[in-house]
């Protein structure tokens, strides 16, 4: 089938990948050209952490997120399987207990266990949780890798729709699709990229806090991504001073070495989300909408892409499809 995909963010590229391997002819339209800072997956943390994420999400996030590790490895070859370390300062250890109660596939660490995993954090925390089977990737590299593979598989990339028609259109535009999906809303996220060669971490670290939870994802070469705020706002634009203060204070609490970091980048965007913060597939005539990945772009796009492809190939109504016509 000839299929046109609107949007070259993580959703569009993942669906294109899934459909290309099934033999469909794909073209991708993105006015800003893929992939880049105009899409919110550009600013993602890239944590493939289904067990951690389900603490504040619905059950499918964990079940379907498990697919993501193999999928990204198969299609980009760039998944780091180092697990996730979850920590809390001494006075917030109640947060750690709650996190442990509400998640599985972890084991508890004492100060010694933490130091063994992350020597630079030695002596800083007395208790933590280790989610050994989780992983992370570098989102921008992963998006580029998908694009490169699609390109070599003959997928056409356009910045405006060509005059030829296609049999099916897949709308994967993220928040821009609000013109067709009125129950989509934006949830603002803000992030920083730091260079801090004096601190070394080999896996994502989550620092729990009642008001300001933080995660730090190492990108290698002394580069770290810090994220991310969650604000019920569709405002994009730059990071606010308050968010900057909070993110950096939390990083400082994790390791004072971050105080000397260079701030390479500050980013903000709005995640597309439906009211239950789960994705949706909607079929309207010859258009299929795939949207609402919220903060789980890299975690859930493989599952949603697979569902979209199965729907196209077999006509089934997959789990996240709430509209068919």
């Amino acid at each position: 089938m000839s299929i046109r995909i609107l949007g070259a963010g993580v959703m569009g590229l993942a669906i294109a990948t899934e459909l290309t391997t099934r033999g469909h002819r794909i073209e991708i339209i993105d006015p800003a050209g893929p992939p880049g800072p105009h899409g919110c997956s550009w600013w993602a943390g890239g944590m493939l952490a289904p067990h951690c994420e389900v603490v504040d999400a619905e059950e499918p996030v964990e079940r379907l997120g498990l697919d993501a590790l193999d999928w990204w490895e198969r299609h980009t070859g760039a998944v780091e399987r180092k697990g996730t370390l979850v920590l809390a300062p001494e006075r917030d250890k109640g947060e750690l207990a709650r996190f442990a109660r509400r998640s599985r596939n972890h084991h508890s660490l004492d100060a010694e266990g933490i130091a063994e995993l992350e020597p630079d954090l030695a002596g800083r925390f007395n208790a933590g949780l280790f989610f050994e089977t989780e992983a992370h990737l570098a989102p921008r590299k992963a998006l580029h890798a998908l694009k490169a593979r699609l390109y070599s598989a003959g997928v056409a990339f356009h910045t405006s729709p060509p005059s030829t028609s296609s049999e099916l259109t897949i709308d994967a535009r993220g928040l821009a699709a609000r013109d067709a999906l009125p129950d989509l809303r934006g949830v603002r996220g803000e992030m920083l990229v730091l260079r801090c060669p004096e601190v070394s971490l080999s896996r994502p670290v989550r620092l729990l806090h009642p008001r300001i939870p933080l995660y730090i994802v190492p990108r290698g070469d002394g580069i770290f991504m810090l994220g991310a705020t969650m604000i019920e706002s569709d405002r994009r634009g730059v990071v606010t001073a308050r968010s900057l203060l909070e993110l950096l204070s939390a990083a400082w609490a994790l390791h004072p070495g971050f105080g000397e970091a260079e701030v390479l980048e500050m980013g903000a965007d709005a995640r597309p989300a439906f009211p239950d913060n789960l994705p949706r597939l909607r079929r309207r005539g010859s258009t299929l909408y795939a949207n609402g990945l919220y903060r789980h772009g890299f975690l859930l796009s493989p599952a949603v892409a697979r569902m979209a492809a199965e729907h196209i190939d077999t006509g089934i109504t997959p789990e996240f499809m709430d509209e068919t016509s």
């Binding site: 603002r188 009211p275 239950d276």
Partner: protein, 254 residues
């Protein structure tokens, strides 16, 4: 049921809308609790929160916008005006934070902001401490509702100063009083109502519970129980053990 500026509300539970894992979970908690009032913040959204606020409006619950996150009189007044415009209500829950870590209110700025907003026609619900003098000043500034804390926001520590809250109730028998903040468990909420308070405002205890809807329902039940208990005129505690059935004259010797 509690009366706020002449409006009677059907439930003594006021529920916040922050920190839920999704708007769907939030809506479920509201359905389960039948809360009479939903509080909602505007400060951090920078005018981009319309979609979320529409969801809150869709709950069908009376809305009390708040100035959470404001640290100065000017910020709070500006935020109140934004709230009035967007939610089309002159009700405003006034928060002016004085201490970043404990989120303790700056009561001096609070009184000042309450005066400005009251003169401007707002019906102010001030988040305050249980200090009698501060509360008196707030009433003079135009407030007809007082919302003293039970404990710091989000702490879940419950009623930290039952004596102070009782004294406040005794001092202002005709003012609508709400325990706002610090509630962690239904027993805390029941205690607030047993003290004779008109309503309880809480958020984190429900939003961060493993099952927010179940906790919301539990809070509503506890508030109802506490309210009934207060109206029932509870017995005074006493030191002496008192069997509830007279023993004299009863054939208790087997």
């Amino acid at each position: 049921m509690p009366v706020f500026y002449g409006t009677e509300v059907e439930s003594a539970l006021m529920l916040g809308t922050a920190q839920y894992s999704s708007p769907a979970v939030l809506a479920e908690a509201f359905r389960a609790s039948k809360a009479g009032i939903a509080t909602v913040s505007l400060r951090r959204e920078h005018g981009g929160g319309q979609a979320f606020w529409e969801l809150i409006r869709g709950l069908g619950t009376r809305i009390l916008p708040n100035t959470a996150g404001c640290h100065t009189v000017k910020e709070a007044v500006t935020t109140a005006h934004m709230a009035r415009e967007f939610f089309d209500t002159d009700w405003i829950k006034l928060e002016v934070i004085g201490h970043t870590d404990s989120l303790q209110p700056d009561v001096f700025a609070l009184v000042e902001a309450a005066r400005i907003l009251s003169e401007d026609g707002f019906k102010v619900f001030p988040y305050c401490t249980e200090d009698l003098i501060v509360c008196d000043r707030l009433l003079h500034a135009g407030c007809a509702v007082l919302m003293p804390w039970g404990a710091p926001i989000g702490s879940g520590l419950g009623i930290n100063n039952a004596y102070g809250l009782r004294a406040l109730r005794a001092e202002f028998p005709d003012t609508t009083l709400v325990v706002d903040a610090g509630i962690g468990l239904p027993s805390h909420a029941a205690q607030a109502m047993e003290l004779g308070y008109d309503a309880v405002l809480l958020n984190t205890a429900v939003a961060k519970a493993g099952d927010p809807a179940a906790m919301a329902r539990a809070m509503a039940l506890a508030i109802e129980a506490g309210r009934e208990a207060h109206r029932a005129d509870p017995m005074e505690p006493r030191d002496m053990a008192a069997p509830s059935t007279p023993v004299i004259g009863k054939a208790f010797l087997a």
